[in-house]
C-alpha cells in the first residue's frame, strides 16, 4: 500500500534528473552556509526555497501535457500584461523598474516570462507545424521580441538576454533556416554600434569593465576583480571549506547569490568546479535524451529550449564570475540563493519530467 503510494508519488519524477537536481541543491546549501559566514538563517531560507521549488516541480511533473499546452496562451498574456504594468506603474529599485507591487506581494514579472515566452513560441509552432513558412518564424520572433524589448527597457540586460536565448533556441530547434540565422548574426554585428548607443550607461560600464576590470578596481570593476581573485586563488584543490579568505573576509561581493560560483572555486578549487560542471553537464545530457525522445513538436521544442536555457544560465553566471562575460546579474542555476529563480528553474525541469513521463500517454 505504502509502496504503491510511493510509486504514484514518484511516477512522474525522473530519477536521473532528480539526482542531478538534488546534487545541485545540496551544493547550494553547503556553499550558502559558508558564504554567509556560517549563518544558519541564510541556509534555512534557501532550504525553504528548495522545498517550495520541489513542490512546484512535483506539481508540474504530474501535470498532463495538454494542461501545459493550454496554459501557454493565458500565461503569456498574463505575463505581457504584468510587463506592461511594470513599464507603467513599476517600482524602481537600484535604478531599474523591474518590480510590480500587487498589494499582497511585490513580483518580478520578467521571471514569469522566462517560462512563458518559450512556452508560447512552442505552442505557436505546434499549431502551425504542418504549414511552417517564413511568416510563422517572423510571428514567433515577434512573440519573443516584444517582451524582450520591454525587459531590456526596465533595464534588465541579464534577464532579457536569457529570455532572448530561450526564444532563439525555440526558433533554432524549430528549424529556422541557416540563411536567416546567418543574416541575423550579421545584422546583429552591424547593429552593435546602435545597440551600444541604446544601452544604459551602467550596462556600457559593465561591458567596458569586462574589457579592463582594473581601470576602476574599487568601483565598477571591483566585483569582477574580486571574483577572479577568489577563483584564481582557489587553485587546484581550493583553500578548504569555510577557509576561503575572499569569501570569509567579505572581499567577494554577493557571495550567496551572483558570485556563489566564486565561493565554490575558492574553497574547493578547480576540482570542485569540474565536479560542479559535471553535474550541470549530466543534467544537460539527461535533458538532451528527453528532448530527443519527446513525442510531439511542442514537447521537443519546449524540452530543447528548457535544457539549453538551463545550461545558458550556468554558462553566463560562470562566465561572469570568471571574467569572460559582463556582470549581468544572472544567478547560478539551483545553487544561488533566491526563491524566484529557483522556482522558475524548477518549473522548467518539472516540465521536462512531465514531457518525459507523459510521453506514452500522449502517444496512445
Amino acid at each position: 500500500m505504502i509502496k504503491q503510494l510511493q510509486r504514484r508519488f514518484t511516477a512522474h519524477l525522473d530519477p536521473l534528473l532528480i539526482s542531478g537536481l538534488a546534487a545541485l541543491m545540496l551544493v547550494s546549501l553547503v556553499l550558502i552556509y559558508s558564504a554567509s559566514g556560517g549563518s544558519m538563517d541564510r541556509m534555512l531560507g534557501q532550504f525553504v526555497n528548495i522545498l517550495v521549488a520541489l513542490a512546484a516541480l512535483w506539481l508540474v511533473a504530474n501535470m498532463p501535457l495538454h494542461y501545459l499546452i493550454r496554459s501557454a496562451v493565458p500565461i503569456y498574456i498574463l505575463g505581457m500584461m504584468l510587463l506592461i504594468g511594470v513599464a507603467l506603474f513599476g517600482e524602481i529599485q537600484n535604478g531599474a523598474r523591474r518590480w510590480l507591487n500587487l498589494g499582497v506581494a511585490t513580483i518580478q514579472p520578467s521571471e514569469l516570462m522566462k517560462i512563458a515566452v518559450p512556452l508560447m513560441m512552442a505552442w505557436y509552432f505546434e499549431r502551425h507545424e504542418a504549414t511552417l513558412a517564413l511568416k510563422n518564424y517572423l510571428v514567433a520572433a515577434l512573440i519573443l521580441a516584444v517582451p524582450f524589448a520591454l525587459i531590456l527597457r526596465q533595464p534588465d540586460l541579464g534577464t532579457a538576454l536569457l529570455i532572448g536565448a530561450s526564444g532563439f533556441y525555440v526558433l533554432f530547434l524549430a528549424g529556422l533556416s541557416w540563411r536567416v540565422i546567418l543574416g541575423l548574426g550579421l545584422s546583429a554585428l552591424a547593429s552593435a554600434p546602435f545597440v551600444w548607443h541604446a544601452l544604459h550607461e551602467y550596462q556600457r560600464q559593465r561591458i567596458l569593465m569586462l574589457l579592463d576590470p582594473s581601470q576602476d578596481p574599487l568601483g565598477k570593476g571591483y566585483h569582477t576583480i574580486q571574483g577572479m581573485i577568489a577563483v584564481g586563488s582557489g587553485g587546484l584543490l581550493g583553500k578548504g571549506y569555510m577557509q576561503g579568505t575572499q569569501t570569509q573576509l567579505e572581499f567577494l561581493p554577493e557571495p550567496t547569490t551572483d558570485f556563489i560560483f566564486a565561493v565554490n572555486s575558492e574553497e574547493f578549487g578547480l576540482l570542485g568546479n569540474l565536479i560542479l560542471l559535471a553535474i550541470y553537464l549530466f543534467i544537460m545530457w539527461r535533458g538532451f535524451i528527453i528532448t530527443a525522445n519527446a513525442s510531439t513538436y511542442f514537447t521537443r521544442l519546449m524540452a530543447g529550449s528548457i535544457t539549453l536555457t538551463f545550461f545558458t544560465y550556468a554558462f553566463v553566471n560562470i562566465g561572469m564570475v570568471t571574467g569572460i562575460l559582463p556582470v549581468v546579474g544572472v544567478p547560478l542555476p539551483l545553487v544561488s540563493y533566491g526563491g524566484t529563480s529557483m522556482l522558475t528553474l524548477a518549473l522548467g525541469l518539472g516540465m521536462l519530467m512531465s514531457i518525459h513521463s507523459h510521453k506514452t500517454l500522449v502517444q496512445s
Binding site: 528549424g175 584564481g232 587546484l236 569540474l274 513538436y297 539549453l308 562566465g319
Partner: protein
C-alpha cells in the same frame, strides 16, 4: 497518399530536429570547454598571481612605531624624553562638516583658537597623513567625556601616543633642537633616502639640533604586525609580528649643569658660549642666547607664536654658537702672536713703541689703538696682556694677508669644525685669492691691518673660536669637537663616529706656546684686560678679551657705547682655558652688543670654569665693570 506524405514529413522533421539538437549539443560542449579552459587558466596558470592578490587583500601590514631614543647629558641627566598622552585626532575624509564637528567637539574638550589654527597648519603641511590632531595632552576627564560621546563623532578618535618633551626647555633649545610633525618636505626627503618605509606610522622627525643630526639613531626601526583584515578593514587576527627596535639613547658630552650655569650667567644678554674639553674634543656646554621653548614645536607651533619668535629682533631661533659669524676682534691676537713667532717675523723680546696710532708708509690714514695715547713700549707678552692693537697692525703688515691666512686656517678658522650637528657656518679668513674671487678686487695693505686685530673681513663662529682656543690650550693638538659621547650601537643604521679624530696637529715650539699661554694667564691677573673676572680664581686662568665691531668708526671719531644704538654696539668676546698648565676646559664667550670682553664676556667664562673645575655654583649677580675693562675697545 496524403497520409504517406505526412508520415514522411514527420520522419524528416524528426531527422532535422535531431540534427539541430546535435548541433546544440556541440554548442554546449564548446561553451563548457571554454569555461574549463578559463578555469584552468585562472586556477592553475595564474594561481600564484591571484594568491598574491588575495593575500594583499586580506593582509594589512600595520607599523609599530619605535620609541624614540632618549637624550641625556654626560652624567645621565635626561634632556629629551618621551611621555605617553592622549591626542584627539580628526580624519577629515570621514567628517562631513569639519567646522561644525570642531565646534561641537569644543563643547566637550577645551579647544582654543590656537588649537584650530595649528590644526589648519598641520593639515596644509602634510598631505600624506590622513588623521590630524586637534588637541594634545587631553586630561583624564576630557578623555572620559569624549569617550562617552564618541558615537556623535564619526571620524574623530582619541589616540594614545608618545610625546617628546624637553625638560630643560630654552636652556638646551639650540643644543637638542626639537622634533616636529613630518611634513611633505620631510616625507619627500625620506622617500629620496629610501627611508619612507621605516617611517610608516611615525609622526615625528628631528627638525633641528641633535634631534635632526642624530635622527637615524634616535628614531629606531619600525616594527610591523601582519594583521588579517576583512573587506571593511577590521582586524580579524594577527598573523605575525616583528617588534620595533627602539631608538638609541644618546649620551651627550654636555654637562647640563654647566650649561645651565652658562645660561644663567648670560642673564638677559644675547650671545653664545661654547666650552670644550681640549683633551678630547668633547663639548661641555653649548649655549646660544636667547633660546626658545622647543616643546612648542613638537606638536606643531601655531602661527602667532611662530611669527613672534621668527620676527623677534632678538632672533631667538638663531643658533649663534653654530651659525653666528662675527669678527673675532682681539681674541685673534694670541694666534697672531704664534703666527709671528712661527714665521720668524717676531721674537719674544722684540718690542715696539706704541704712540696710539699706526700709519702705513706713504699714507696719512691713522689706524688707532683702543687706548688714546698708546701703551708706550710693548713687547709680545705685553701686547697680549693689554691687547695692544698697534703691535698687531705692524705684525699683520709683516706677515702679509696670505701669511696670516695660511697660519690661521691651521687652527681651524675659515672652515667648518665638523661638529656632529648640521648647519654649521664656515667663518672666513680673508686672503688675496678670496678677495679676488669674491669681489674681483686686489688686496689693499689697509685691509691687512684690520685683519691683524681680527676685524675687517675676518669672521668666526663661537664654536670655531672655542675650538681654536682648545687647540691652543692642548698644545696644537685638536680633537674634532663633538656633542655625542656615545650611543650604543643597536640600530640598523651605521652609527656616526663617536671617537673624535685628531683633525689638527700643529708643530708649535714649546717656548712659543709657553710665552703666549703665560701672557694669556696674565690677562686675567691684575694689569690684564680681564683682571676683575680673573681675580681670586684659585687656578691658573688663561684668557683673552676681544671686541668685535658692529659698525665702523670714522676717522677721528671715538667710539662711545652710550652714543650708539644698542644693536650697533660692539660685541664682547672672551676666550679662555684653565688650568693653564693642564687645560681641562677651553671656551669662547660672545655677548652681543654689550661693549667690552673683559667686563661682560670674561665673567661669564669665569662662572663656567669655576663650576667646571671647582664645582662652584655662582650667585647670580650682574657683571661689574672696571675702568680698564670699560675703556678697552
Amino acid at each position: 497518399m496524403k497520409h504517406y506524405k505526412e508520415l514522411k514529413n514527420h520522419q524528416r522533421e524528426i531527422y532535422f530536429f535531431r540534427l539541430r539538437l546535435t548541433l546544440s549539443l556541440i554548442f554546449v560542449v564548446v561553451l563548457a570547454s571554454i569555461l574549463v579552459a578559463r578555469l584552468v587558466y585562472l586556477q592553475i596558470i595564474r594561481h600564484s598571481d591571484f594568491t598574491t592578490l588575495a593575500d594583499k587583500n586580506r593582509i594589512s601590514v600595520v607599523p609599530i612605531v619605535p620609541n624614540r631614543g632618549l637624550i641625556q647629558d654626560r652624567n645621565g641627566v635626561v634632556l629629551a624624553q618621551n611621555y605617553s598622552g592622549y591626542t584627539l585626532e580628526i580624519s577629515p575624509a570621514k567628517v562631513v562638516n569639519l567646522e561644525a564637528t570642531i565646534d561641537s567637539l569644543a563643547t566637550l574638550v577645551n579647544i582654543t583658537a590656537k588649537d584650530r589654527k595649528r590644526f589648519k597648519k598641520i593639515r596644509t603641511e602634510s598631505q600624506t597623513s590622513n588623521s590630524y590632531p586637534i588637541r594634545y595632552r587631553l586630561n583624564d576627564a576630557e578623555v572620559a567625556l569624549f569617550a562617552s560621546q564618541r558615537f556623535r563623532f564619526p571620524g574623530v578618535e582619541i589616540k594614545a601616543r608618545l610625546f617628546r618633551e624637553y625638560p630643560y626647555r630654552d636652556k638646551t633649545a639650540h643644543l637638542i633642537g626639537y622634533v616636529g610633525r613630518i611634513n611633505d618636505k620631510d616625507f619627500a626627503m625620506l622617500e629620496k633616502a629610501n627611508l619612507a618605509e621605516n617611517y610608516r606610522g611615525s609622526d615625528y622627525i628631528g627638525k633641528i639640533g641633535i634631534e635632526q643630526s642624530y635622527e637615524s639613531e634616535l628614531h629606531g626601526t619600525t616594527g610591523f604586525e601582519q594583521v588579517e583584515v576583512d573587506a571593511a578593514g577590521r582586524g580579524v587576527r594577527v598573523l605575525s609580528r616583528t617588534p620595533p627596535q627602539p631608538g638609541n639613547t644618546l649620551t651627550l658630552t654636555i654637562d647640563v649643569k654647566l650649561q645651565e650655569i652658562a645660561e644663567l650667567a648670560f642673564g638677559n644678554l644675547r650671545g653664545a658660549l661654547v666650552a670644550i674639553d681640549p683633551t678630547n674634543g668633547e663639548i661641555l656646554a653649548f649655549v646660544s642666547k636667547p633660546g626658545y621653548d622647543p616643546n612648542l614645536f613638537v606638536d606643531g607651533i601655531d602661527t602667532e607664536t611662530w611669527d613672534a619668535l621668527n620676527n623677534s629682533l632678538d632672533t631667538p631661533l638663531y643658533n649663534r654658537a653654530l651659525r653666528g659669524q662675527y669678527p673675532p676682534g682681539s681674541t685673534i691676537k694670541p694666534f697672531m702672536a704664534l703666527a709671528g713667532l712661527d714665521a720668524n717675523k717676531r721674537t719674544p723680546a722684540y718690542s715696539i713703541n706704541d704712540p696710539g696710532y699706526f700709519t702705513l708708509p706713504g699714507s696719512r690714514h691713522q689706524f688707532r689703538d683702543w687706548k688714546v695715547g698708546g701703551h708706550g713700549r710693548v713687547d709680545m707678552f705685553k701686547s697680549i696682556v693689554i691687547s695692544c692693537d698697534i703691535y698687531y697692525y705692524g705684525l699683520a703688515i709683516d706677515l702679509g694677508v696670505d701669511g696670516m691666512h695660511d697660519y690661521l686656517v691651521k687652527f681651524g678658522f675659515g672652515k667648518k669644525t665638523g661638529l656632529d650637528m648640521d648647519g654649521e657656518s664656515p667663518g672666513l679668513v680673508p686672503s688675496t685669492a678670496w678677495k679676488r674671487k669674491r669681489y674681483n678686487q686686489p688686496w689693499y695693505p689697509g685691509d691687512t691691518v684690520s685683519v691683524g686685530i681680527g676685524q675687517g673681513y675676518s669672521l668666526v663662529t663661537p664654536l670655531q673660536l672655542a675650538y681654536a682656543t682648545a687647540v691652543l690650550a692642548n698644545d696644537g693638538i685638536g680633537y674634532r669637537p663633538h656633542l655625542v659621547k656615545h650611543a650604543p650601537l643597536k640600530t640598523a643604521y651605521p652609527s656616526k663616529t663617536h671617537e673624535a679624530p685628531i683633525d689638527i696637529q700643529l708643530q708649535i715650539k714649546p717656548e712659543h706656546l709657553e710665552l703666549v699661554k703665560r701672557a694669556m694667564v696674565a690677562v686675567t691677573l691684575p694689569g690684564g684686560t680681564a683682571a676683575i673676572a680673573g681675580s681670586g680664581a684659585g687656578y691658573s686662568f688663561a684668557g683673552k678679551t676681544g671686541t668685535s665691531q658692529v659698525v665702523g668708526i670714522k676717522q677721528g671719531e671715538k667710539y662711545v657705547a652710550k652714543n650708539v644704538d644698542e644693536r650697533h654696539r660692539d660685541h664682547a668676546w672672551f676666550i679662555g682655558f684653565a688650568p693653564a698648565d693642564k687645560p681641562r676646559i677651553a671656551l669662547a664667550v660672545l655677548a652681543e652688543n654689550t661693549g667690552t670682553g673683559g667686563s661682560v664676556a670674561a665673567p661669564i667664562a669665569r662662572k663656567v670654569i669655576d663650576y667646571y673645575l671647582l664645582g662652584k655654583v655662582p650667585h647670580t649677580a650682574p657683571p661689574i665693570k672696571t675702568k680698564l675693562e670699560a675703556a678697552h675697545d
